[in-house]
């Protein structure tokens, strides 16, 4: 190369390594939107110097800010090699960049001790990062648990011993608690007591009711207004977006520090407001935000989108780990449900991070019982093979509800997206919160929070329990059973019948309200409401089975295993199976769900019932629609997500999908020599493609390489400004050696260094199933199509998604992003 300096950073001097790098660092997470959000408008139009500044800022966001001058591995031109917002990354290019970087460090490490230390610290930085992510997420989850618990109780009253205690901790040391009312103590005052001084009577009830509604409205209003004011990206569950981001999409600011703060704060508010939502999905988002922010501390991850996504996959595991106290389940959740590219190294690291997070959370001990979740249960009562029948029934229920929920929720969200309903997000949240509070207060099972409800339903009745659900008739001779203080099967008493009615009403209410709650503009998870629905259904079925067994324990079915006096049916187990079935129906998880439930209960005995229920649930739900709630939301929003689970079923060929179509004008290509800067610019201006193939000549159409529009524009603009003699008539040269030019011609612009010399190609006869596989497995953004060595066209990820939508009789224009 005659001018090697050009391509390797001769413009570095132009960039001010000023002291505002710090400021840039601060701003890294909250990423700026320098370029417009769609790529059909060229981002470079407002003068070159500003543009240079703009791109350098983008590079800063990508993390190349402070160390730009010291690191020789830097991109040759600032901005080249970065991505625009709402675009998809090229996994191959990113991974290749990382390998180059790694190779450089390894080579250097042989030269000096400092470099050796640097290479060692580089190798361990991944583990350190994981440790930090685990610590931070665990601490945040602990804070969220404590605050949410307190805020939920604030709806009912206040503690006089210290306003920061929730109801349970207020009565922690009280001796006034009785066997029937375990949490009543004088230190805890309901709002009626505080305001009117009376704790009983209809007036006090009305005051409490009103205060409950007031606080619910207050909390939900605060939640939605904070989201709207500071971080609109903090709303919703976050899992669909994280799935898309992990598959390579870029949404700047989605995992930034403001999103983190606001999501953490408003999640507590939303959960405490009594809305039918959980904190599990948002916790995954929170963990991913932590990971993304901590990534900026390490050069290796700051600069590489692919490496960062590995960390984010691990963070998703951390989120579930702290949400359910299930480190292994979290890792499998990340593997099965969220992640796109999950190498083994990430498996190890996410396991490590999940463990660290679980331990941090345990040491915070948010519930005061050394457990990570409120609804941890530990039973070891056996189950009988005959019981598989009701478990499968629960699976069918879960599958049906899952399918129905997805359809209803998507229809509702579509309504919100397309009609004027979407213009009043704040009012919507307030109306739903008011409705929820109004309807849920009278029923004690809806009044309590979702986790408490699940905890109560999972719990098995023993003599020690006094809840309504354990309102069995007392047998005549209690003390005869001696040491055994378990409750053998007994007839249901009036308390239990009341509880069953209330539960049935709660079931209907939860099923309705969750449909319109999920998708509102507050942080909202789906796990807890789904599990609550399933747990209620399961408990109802369990109690029913129990009574059936009690009244018919001589019948053929129960004879063998259900002798009188034996504890043969565990309603709590049914609740657990039901919860798993409903959650499975909604999310279509299988293995990870079973493992999560198994870690919740600590018993390997129940794997088979859980597996039977989740499998049935998945199959039943799949019969109504192949996609889970997250995929449905991804599709609703038109994210560029290539589902790795689904096979491409159709027999189309690459030539059917590629652009240009048969009727279209031919593909816009650059030639490796002979085009002038002006011609290139007008070609780029007149089209909106994000990249251009480079060919030997337009007659032969033999492919040389591929140039991205963004890189091309940045390079030309920089060259025009900085390089002497580059005018519109200068030739653009992509060859290795400059061709002979006439003596009076202006100097050529050499751009080989921004050209991708190894573009992916397939032949026109390649079946689309293979092409889709290549895109999925390698994480491509585009692929060129050749016929007998000649360039024919191009297939982008968007083309494939559009084609798939068309094949499924959906609107191909629903795919919005590249």
């Amino acid at each position: 190369m005659e001018n090697p300096g050009y391509c390797s950073g001769s413009f570095d001097g132009l960039h001010h390594p000023s002291d505002d790098d710090d400021d840039e660092m601060v701003d890294i997470a909250g990423a700026t939107l320098d370029f417009s959000s769609t790529d059909d408008v060229p981002p470079l139009s407002s003068g070159v110097y500003e543009e240079h500044n703009g791109t350098s800022r983008t590079a800063g966001m990508n993390g190349s800010g402070p160390s730009r001058l010291v690191d020789p591995l830097e991109d040759p031109l600032p901005g080249v090699g970065t991505y625009e917002d709402f675009n998809t990354i090229d996994w191959v290019r990113e991974k290749s960049k990382d390998r180059d970087r790694h190779r450089e460090i390894t080579n250097k490490s042989r030269q000096s001790t400092v470099a050796l230390l640097h290479s060692i610290s580089d190798a361990f930085s991944g583990w350190l990062l994981m440790l930090l992510v685990g610590l931070m997420s665990g601490a945040l989850a602990g804070g969220i648990d404590i605050s949410a618990h307190w805020m939920t109780d604030v709806k009912g009253g206040l503690c006089l011993r210290g306003f920061w205690f929730n109801h349970e901790h207020c009565c922690w040391l009280s001796n006034e608690t009785t066997f029937q009312e375990r949490d009543r103590c004088p230190q805890w005052q309901s709002w009626a007591e505080l305001i009117t001084g009376k704790s009983e009577g209809p007036f006090a009830y009305i005051v409490n009711y009103l205060m409950y509604i007031f606080w619910a409205l207050m909390f939900s209003f605060l939640a939605v207004i904070l989201v709207r004011a500071f971080a609109p990206y903090a709303c919703g569950s976050g899992i669909p977006e994280i799935k898309t981001i992990l598959s390579g999409f870029i949404i700047r600011g989605y995992l930034g520090k403001w999103t983190l703060i606001i999501k953490t704060i408003t999640l507590v508010l939303a959960v405490s407001s009594g809305l039918s939502l959980g904190k599990e999905g948002p916790l995954v988002h929170v963990a991913c935000c932590c990971a993304n922010i901590l990534c900026h501390l390490f050069t290796k991850y700051r600069k590489n989108e692919a490496k960062r996504r590995e960390v984010l996959s691990a963070a998703a595991a951390v989120g579930v780990s702290v949400a359910f106290g299930a480190p292994i389940g979290g890792v499998l959740f990340s593997l099965e449900e969220v992640s796109y590219y999950f190498p083994l190294k990430t498996l190890w690291r996410s396991f490590f991070a999940a463990l660290v997070a679980a331990f941090t959370l345990r040491s915070i001990n948010p519930f005061g019982n050394s457990r990570l979740v409120l609804f941890y249960v530990e039973f070891h009562t056996p189950w009988h093979l005959v019981e598989l029948a009701p478990f499968i029934l629960l699976g069918i229920f879960g599958g049906l509800w899952g399918a129905l929920f997805i359809k209803a929720n998507i229809a509702w969200c579509r309504l919100r997206k397309t009609t004027c309903l979407g213009h009043y997000p704040v009012i919507e949240v307030l109306v739903v919160a008011a409705l929820t509070a109004l309807l849920s207060y009278p029923n004690s099972y809806t009044r309590m929070s979702g986790s408490e409800l699940i905890s109560e339903l999972f719990n098995d009745c023993s003599l020690l329990d006094s809840s309504q659900l354990c309102g069995y008739k007392q047998p005549a001779n209690t003390s005869d059973t001696g040491v055994d203080n378990s409750l053998a099967d007994r007839p249901a008493g009036p308390g239990l019948y009341t509880a069953l009615w209330q539960l049935a009403l709660a079931l209907v209410f939860k099923m309705m309200i969750t449909v319109i709650t999920f998708g509102m503009k507050v942080p909202s998870g789906l796990f807890i409401p789904s599990m609550a629905v399933g747990a209620i259904a399961g408990r109802l079925l369990g109690v029913g089975m129990e009574q059936l067994a009690y009244y018919n324990h001589d019948s053929v079915i129960f004879k063998g295993w259900c002798s009188q006096g034996a504890d043969c049916i565990t309603p709590g187990l049914y609740a657990m199976v039901g919860a798993a079935a409903c959650l499975g129906g909604v999310t279509r998880m299988t293995v990870s769900l079973v493992v999560i439930m198994f870690e919740l209960t600590g018993g390997l005995e129940y794997i088979v019932p859980l597996m039977a229920a989740t499998m049935t649930s998945k199959w039943v739900a799949d019969a109504f629609g192949r996609e889970g709630i997250y995929e449905a939301h991804i599709r609703l929003n038109g994210y560029p997500f290539l589902e790795p689970k689904e096979e491409f079923e159709h027999s189309s060929l690459a030539v059917d999908v590629m652009r240009p179509r048969r009727m279209d004008p031919t593909l816009a290509v650059l030639t490796q020599e002979g085009m002038t800067v002006g011609e290139v610019e007008s070609l780029v201006e007149s089209t909106h493609f994000s990249g251009f193939p480079v060919v030997v000549s337009s007659e032969s159409q033999r492919l040389v390489g591929f140039v991205l529009r963004r890189d091309l524009l940045i390079s030309i603009d920089n060259a025009r400004k900085r390089q002497d003699g580059i005018v519109s008539a200068s030739q653009v040269v992509f060859t290795e050696h400059t061709p002979p030019l006439p003596p009076d011609a202006p100097p050529p612009l050499r751009l080989r260094c921004i050209m991708d010399l190894s573009p992916f190609t397939v032949t026109d006869h390649t079946p689309m199933d293979i092409t889709v596989d290549i895109f999925r497995k390698l994480g491509l953004r585009q692929c060129l199509v050749t016929h007998n060595g000649r360039l024919l066209g191009i297939i982008t990820k968007k083309d494939i998604l559009k084609h798939m939508a068309q094949m499924a009789n959906r609107d191909p224009d629903s795919i919005l992003f590249n």
Binding site: S174, F179, L222, P232, L269
Partner: protein, 160 residues
Amino acid sequence: AKSFEDVRCKCICPPYRNITGHIYNRNFSQKDCNCLHVVEPMPVPGHDVEAYCLLCECKYEERSSNTIKVTIIIYLSVVGALLLYMLFLLLVDPLIRKHDPYTQPLHNEEDSEEMRPQPESSSQARGNTVLERVEGAQQRWKKQVQEQRKTVFDRHKLLS
């Protein structure tokens, strides 16, 4: 070192013969946490103590009331700070900035659907004083939030 009010030993005794169920709560250390120490006065005569105690379940529990206190106070102060800042941005900021050039882009953006970045604001923000730099950063951040708000709330492109 656990403080006095952070440990407890809680025994739940179910109904037994004609005695109703009871809950006993003492702040004893872990090694004293058993039925014989905690249940006091013993409601049954001497020969029944063992049977009664077998039915009771005693659990030793710990908590950290300081963690709870600190967490709740931090949480409330963050919420309060955010609310104040929001009010400031809503009410005070437009007033004091009435003639400030920074407000210009804000108004512009609300008109045009396709917002164009305004690099001059950031290059102006590269001023010398700390205040100016902070203000520049704040300005950039406000624009991002506005853009996010438009994407999510108005155009329903993401997260709907």
